[in-house]
Symmetry: C2
Subunit: 267 residues, 2 copies
DNA sequence: GCAGGCATGTGCGACAGCGTACAGACGCGA
DNA sequence: TCGCGTCTGTACGCTGTCGCACATGCCTGC
């Protein structure tokens, strides 16, 4: 099988590209092996590379006051790290940490910017992904404000499972606490509750999702919102994306109703 | 004074444009009068217009679970509403509400997209603004998670003052509660505390900032972070932007250090 | 000048999450 | 097999916020 076909199967953002573009872009990438908890990017450092995870996945971490932190995004083979480059900025306020060991395609930032100019389809795809990213940030802001730990944990497990492509993955409660920005003990409680309800099983960091459907109803609506947004922007029927089940999908964008603009009078 | 000079003075994003571009863009805008609490945009509706506030300012509201909501952005004459159009998407997950009555320049969405293609400087400016917007979303996610109401209120007052260009503005506690996503009583307490400390004075919705410096130290670091980000991306020395005082400014982007990439081995 | 509405203030019980400390449980290597 | 480090579970008092109910204060229009 030629190289580009492999890659198509493993990063779905690149999988949307026409063969010509894809071949050229893959030629500009190198495959890197990412290990668990590698720090790929330190906030406000220079953004030298973009990453297209294939079997790995990456967590976006927003630091607060130099002590706390929250995860505000998760990037697997459905996405990429390096969105700010699309806006001509080679930095980001959020850090990137490897949360699932595996491979990723890596491209030099400068080259990525050039490729954006050369492939209209690439730019279009990354534009849409950037929009999804934006929406997820807004969702995260609301979610961390209003939802209790247990629901956020359930959401987090679902998001992770989507990107790990397996029912079982490894993550300690300590690490989870860092992600959700809560105490470790808070995770212990929430996880115990989910386990008692038969939704997950875990043992010293090995978490198994037993009941995906149940986990979905235990999670806050943010999981579905995020998924719905992604699917609307980048196609729901991509292979390997676990079903999200029937969700209160909004109508497609083209049918959106007009904004009300009372009192806005032209002059 | 010709029209374009007026506008330059009143929306600073447009003020960065060369005269040619500016003149053409202003020709495509109409001035609209916005009234307090006008709903400019309903989440996920069709995005028909972009707004460049001049004397008005606009709040971005993220709804949650159909009952709660949080403000995740504030747009005055330093910004614009309609960032997603830059990404080719004519919708947004966040709503827009007028929070300060006044004028704004409004442009048809389709025309705005065309103008983006015609003026490199416009695209560059909006790109940078989009990055600021992105950063503010990330900041908001962290802020709503970790900071107490009083500090968030202080931040909010500073942000509002920056955009109202006055020490006094009108806002009820009820409305404030909606913005911060807390109980009205929570605002009562926080506001009382700020007043007792001599930082503000308020009376039935009329809030006066008495001690800007004190308010800054009462607020969470998010205010300074936001300001620093904006200033770095779009120039600190714009006229009419109240001083933010000495802040722990990060080095300019070009001097950012490289990301650490341990364990990332090419193969 | 009085009624009614709106804005603000107070009180109270409940609860999620915090910080901290410590005790088991498990697994791996000496 | 033992020891040690890591991961998980339990406990306790405390704080910030919630939800609700109700009291007060102020402004406006009749």
């Amino acid at each position: 099988m030629p190289a580009f076909q492999c890659a198509t199967a493993v990063n779905r953002l690149l999988g949307t590209l026409p063969e010509n573009d894809l071949r050229r872009i893959l030629a500009g990438c190198e495959t890197v092996e990412l290990s668990f908890s590698d720090m790929l990017y330190v906030p406000m450092a220079r953004l030298c590379h973009v990453y297209f995870p294939t079997s790995s996945f990456i967590s976006l971490i927003m630091p607060v006051d130099g002590k706390d932190s929250v995860e505000i995004g998760l990037i697997g083979d459905e996405g990429m790290f390096g969105v700010p480059l699309l806006l001509g900025v080679d930095a980001s306020p959020v850090g990137a940490v490897v949360r699932g060991a595996g491979r990723a395609l890596r491209m030099d930032a400068a080259r990525f910017c050039r490729e954006l100019g050369r492939s209209e389809q690439l730019e279009r795809t990354i534009d849409r992904y950037a929009f999804v990213h934006l929406s997820q940030l807004a969702q995260a802001a609301a979610c961390t404000r209003f939802h209790v730990v247990e629901a956020r944990l359930a959401r987090w497990l679902l998001m992770t499972q989507d990107r790990a492509h397996a029912e079982t993955f490894h993550i300690t409660q300590e690490f989870l606490a860092l992600m959700l920005g809560v105490r470790r003990v808070g995770i212990t409680m929430a996880a115990k509750s989910l386990q008692r309800r038969g939704l997950i099983r875990y043992k010293r960091g090995d978490i198994t999702v037993l009941d995906r459907r149940g986990l979905k109803s235990a999670s806050c609506g943010c999981y579905r919102s995020d998924r719905a947004c992604y699917d609307r922007m980048l196609g729901a029927s991509l292979p390997g994306w676990p079903d999200c089940g029937p969700s209160p999908l909004l109508p497609p964008l083209v049918n959106g109703r007009d904004a009300l603009e009372p009192g806005a009078t032209a002059r």
